[in-house]
Symmetry: C2
Subunit: 342 residues, 2 copies
């Protein structure tokens, strides 16, 4: 007897092909009686799933996709390790895709992944556009998505973030408490959620200390490291009263070190520097860098846990599953003179 296909099953049962497929895949949105009816007939007619049907290929791939901006930043290499630990425990492989903050590439790879290759996707978004329709498209095709760190604020899915506002407030207060009055803020992006929250923490800390916010003291990341260093140097030359730098990402803290060295400014005597960073060598720098250290490994673990729950239980991910983890201020020699030589 020739094996039946999904369409024939659907015809016999007077159901849509999609419903029959979802029933066979034990999806959450199909009632138990319907699942029972479909399975009974499938057994009776010796239905065998076609391994080339795209929906089933996705079910069987045992792969999740991770879309991240870059890997040179230590934050993301730690996140990756956290994700992989959970994936391995679930016997899944992880494929990574780097967007280099290019929205177009993010869009293009999301479509590619939606095309049946992965069972779920973790995303830290690129930073230049506010169009996230491609990620909704992934969800629309039944591929669960979890955002982490650089998230879409208005999403209906879960997000794993850190307390960016509070830790940015604390970092700025740390500089003020150590005598800084004119604090430059180096920002990764005007449009990214993390950029906005970190900026708010900075401005509120200034206000609460009676220090006026000056737009001139805010520098945004440029297209290259060389341009970052140049922009920081230009600001330091224009405003020799600057006595503190708060970098909202690791690369800008490193560019600050180079800019200060080029100008002959001594950290922390002439100027104090603090940065968001997961740099393993922070304590080996000259001077050791004071950091806001994000729980990067835990972010990867938590995001992956939420994703695998959805994959394995066939349930949708909802915004209420979102988690906020806490970052830690690690004080070193770049903000406190007596800590330079330990």
């Amino acid at each position: 007897m020739k094996p039946v296909n999904l369409k024939q099953l659907a015809g016999e049962l007077n159901l849509s092909v999609a419903t029959v497929s979802r029933a066979l895949n034990d999806r959450y949105d199909i009632s138990q009686p319907t699942k029972d009816r479909v399975r009974e007939l499938a057994r009776k007619l010796n239905y065998e799933p076609n391994p080339y049907a795209s929906g089933l290929r996705r079910q069987q791939s045992k792969i999740i996709g991770v879309i991240i901006p870059e890997v040179a930043n230590h934050f993301f290499s730690l996140v990756i390790n956290g994700i992989e630990e959970v994936a391995r425990a679930n016997d899944y492989h992880v494929l990574f895709y780097l967007t280099h903050d290019d929205h177009q590439r993010e869009l293009s790879v999301a479509r590619l992944l939606a095309n049946g290759r992965v069972e779920g996707v973790l995303v830290s978004v690129a930073n230049d556009k506010q169009d996230f329709s491609h990620l909704e498209a992934l969800q629309g095709r039944g591929v669960p998505v979890v955002f982490f760190d650089r998230v879409q604020e208005e999403t209906t899915t879960a997000k794993v973030t850190t307390n960016d506002y509070e830790s940015s407030y604390e970092a700025t207060r740390h500089l003020i408490d150590n005598g800084c009055r004119t604090i430059a803020h180096l920002v990764v992006s005007k449009t990214l959620s993390i950029g906005k929250r970190r900026m708010q923490g900075y401005t509120d800390a200034l206000k609460d200390s009676g220090i006026a916010y000056e737009e001139e003291l805010v520098v945004y990341a440029q297209a290259s490291k060389a341009q970052d260093i140049e922009a920081i140097q230009a600001l330091l030359l224009k405003r020799p009263d600057i006595d503190g730098i708060f970098a909202s990402v690791e690369s800008l803290a490193m560019s600050s070190y180079e800019a200060c060295r080029n100008l002959g400014l001594v950290i922390p005597t002439d100027i104090k520097v603090i940065g968001f960073s997961n740099l393993e060598t922070a304590s080996l720098l000259d001077p050791p860098l004071t950091t806001v250290t994000q729980p990067a490994y835990a972010i990867g673990q938590e995001a992956a846990r939420i994703l695998f729950q959805a994959i394995i239980k066939n349930t949708p991910i909802v915004a209420t599953q979102s988690i906020e983890l806490k970052s830690e201020l690690v004080v070193r020699g770049s903000t406190v003179a007596e800590m330079v030589k330990l």
Copy 2:
């Protein structure tokens, strides 16, 4: 008229299905007369390729896969950028897979990739086994493979490497020229090609300077950073005459800095340190690290170029396409006292 499939075409032509498929895909190993015969019949019978047939899916995926040990090492983040530049120029996406030096995972993902998802693979091998049959399996399924940096010596495909022996010899000589007589060598792996070549450069440089090789001075990478630091400290305590450290990978150079600091040893006064490294912050360390800097970006570009030539022209990759690029010795304060404060 019902469309014909590959099998029917093959039957009519008295050829195998594989031959017909390869003829339609313009593969190099099918003769022109056969290609012409197959195509003529395909046109006549309105043959349409089945997009779900695995061979064709591979042809159309526009994805290459890259298998690397890790991303925390700056060498690999630069290689990634080089690969992506070439892939973008060819309008391809790049998916990455990290083995964490686990041979079993490398084997498992190679099988997964062979299963029709990517059109080519670039590999830097994991370091604990000498079994590379899974990579040959990729080639056997028509997926071209290029090795880079951590390569299989006996492979029949192309390799992109650096002059590990010469640069290791030069690094060791640099320490000797700066007064070191008891030089520890920290090695990434006993079995990896790069580990062996770097070890040979070290021992030959010692011999040519009339310094005896001592097995006790060689330390292999441990399972964790904490264990690396402990092993280095143990050696430095046992052999207080050690006046130089040559680390064959970046992470071991950083662990040497931490070990020296823990023991109160001052670099470069008490002990000099040199390491293979692409660390962006090498010049910001205390003291700045003297490095053997590999042309990581170019390695990625060259490996990708060889791969895309094979993908686009449908030609096999041969060992004679292998390339060796040159590394550079960058002298900084960790080996020369007067360079500590620039």
